[in-house]
Subunit: 267 residues, 3 copies
Amino acid sequence: MMDRAIVSSALEAVRETSPLVSCITNSVVTNFTANVLLAIGAAPAMVDIVGEAGPFASIASGLLINLGTPTPEQREAAREAASAAVAADVPWVLDPVAVGALVHRTDLARELVTMGPTVVRGNASEIIALAGEGAGGRGVDASDEVESAFEAAQLIARNYGSVVAISGATDAIVSADQIIRVGGGAEMLTRVTGGGCALGAFLAAFVGAAKTRAVTPLEAVAAGHAVYSAAGEIAQEKASGPGTFQMHFLDSLYLVSTDDLDRIPLS
Amino acid sequence: MMDRAIVSSALEAVRETSPLVSCITNSVVTNFTANVLLAIGAAPAMVDIVGEAGPFASIASGLLINLGTPTPEQREAAREAASAAVAADVPWVLDPVAVGALVHRTDLARELVTMGPTVVRGNASEIIALAGEGAGGRGVDASDEVESAFEAAQLIARNYGSVVAISGATDAIVSADQIIRVGGGAEMLTRVTGGGCALGAFLAAFVGAAKTRAVTPLEAVAAGHAVYSAAGEIAQEKASGPGTFQMHFLDSLYLVSTDDLDRIPLS
Amino acid sequence: MMDRAIVSSALEAVRETSPLVSCITNSVVTNFTANVLLAIGAAPAMVDIVGEAGPFASIASGLLINLGTPTPEQREAAREAASAAVAADVPWVLDPVAVGALVHRTDLARELVTMGPTVVRGNASEIIALAGEGAGGRGVDASDEVESAFEAAQLIARNYGSVVAISGATDAIVSADQIIRVGGGAEMLTRVTGGGCALGAFLAAFVGAAKTRAVTPLEAVAAGHAVYSAAGEIAQEKASGPGTFQMHFLDSLYLVSTDDLDRIPLS
């Protein structure tokens, strides 16, 4: 059972420290990702060039590596950034988008995961595929249930020390010996591109800021999911479709209060 | 004269089958394109990496190749994806953005068109330039009238078996022996970037989903234009500028009903 | 003291001539940048491919080179485009995003500035770093005060003939022998990604359109800042967060009148 005071503390840490999050992410979601980070009070930067990605990652508060559209330049930059983050003890998030069937991202994800990302985030299909037990989903869909990925998630957590966040109807945050479930959220998030991808950057902000508090990566990831879900719920109540939802979601991230967090089931 | 029941059937097919659309498109419109596809009920994926673009195109329901910002990697990936789509009988849309004066895209567009895209979509200038009869427009403007491109469109349709969709005040959908005109639409769409580019992906969704029904590619393309125009009209009535328009347009695609389609002139 | 009639004239020039602005910019802000240009009445095009960037820049009304995510292909294309713009007397804007610590963009920015950009635009940290007197900011933040960059700006203005626009609480537009201050604006712009980057493209439109009037580049840049600030203020009054702000900002650019410009302090 997770203490709700920790969720509030993690959110305050982001807003007070404005963590600088370096993002290597896919070309579809760069803009939305940066806006999500700005809305919650973090400082986004996209540095995905070979020769710059490493130095920048080492001075950031957190790093996201998302493999949605991994060009050769980005693949090389991702390796450079991950190494730099590990060396500088900067928390980093790996989002293995659509791994399984597609060759470059699958090879790279399996290489990067051995470097011990602080967080691995994906849907059940992706987590299963990354662990090597399944064939992945079709694109970015979640065609597996969250529960079906628990074994794969724990395998990754034990082998590489990562917190594994599985997105689904109820999200599950998995460490080697614990599982936290975060409910709530908005179905409409699945009608806006980048909902999951931006969450990866969001988690990098929370884990980065948590270093300034007595909040563990597991708790920070659960807190990030809870805040994201709360903002999603508020936005969905106001939205009449995916256009208005996206707008209200950014406003809700900006305005979300610790009271709003009480609506999110957390166990 | 096109039967309106076919438009409704084509729309239902998209919503019921949620076609997976692989997009190789320009860096300006990736996000909007994905959101347009999600709003109508399709599943977008942007796979534009050499070595991944082909395998993914072959399992998709439809493919878009848009030449707006064709990096060397994308040019190679486009060839790979087009070949795979042809081999796997996956419908594909070619959008020859700004062909004519600019060398790489013009060469590539003329190469790809010979592979027989299911649909070629562009403004009159682009269709004329692709057919080799003109010098293209300035960027993505439509400086020629739709009618002026009929001859070029029919040439492409006859030589390569493509349906050619010409965007303008009244859109024209041209096959070797037929022309369907689709009216309506929103002038405000020209104040939002990616209106035409996202339409290309939208058409890939409609043509892909149409394979599950007794709807021809010509009909599916006309239906896609009609739905897009109807959503544009509804959004324009609610908008006070391009910012509110973009938001309402995505909502309208999500909400558009077969009744709304009656407002669109179709002949 | 700048004449407000010149601001109105510069805005009218953009709306009446619809300047074609070629943008080589970062992957985070392409979409927003294009939408900002469309909202004010300019015509955006992103041509950042080697072999196309030069020819296109030479026929454009204005060119933006923004170094936010400078891939090798973009770096080469930027050199090609700058040379073509200089040769064809096309006004161009250099935005040296995050120069200072990061190697590729810093080297390239220092090379490009010697080619004499019509406008250099950045925050104080970036202007100082470009002039070689400081170490740059952390990412895209403005950690220096505008005034602290006056000396660096005047150095650039004198050496290369550029107008230097420094963004901050009060913007300063600096030439070799003049400083214009533009106040107003919206704090919320710092919560939306690409506010500064899109301003660079916006200035390219203003300077390009100014060639058709008796408006100098210095005046056009000040006018562009004033229009941008006015639209920002109007949007902020209507917004409840960064999502609604972004939408209202695009609407405001579309709707902004010369009367609205009176609210912006200009000296």
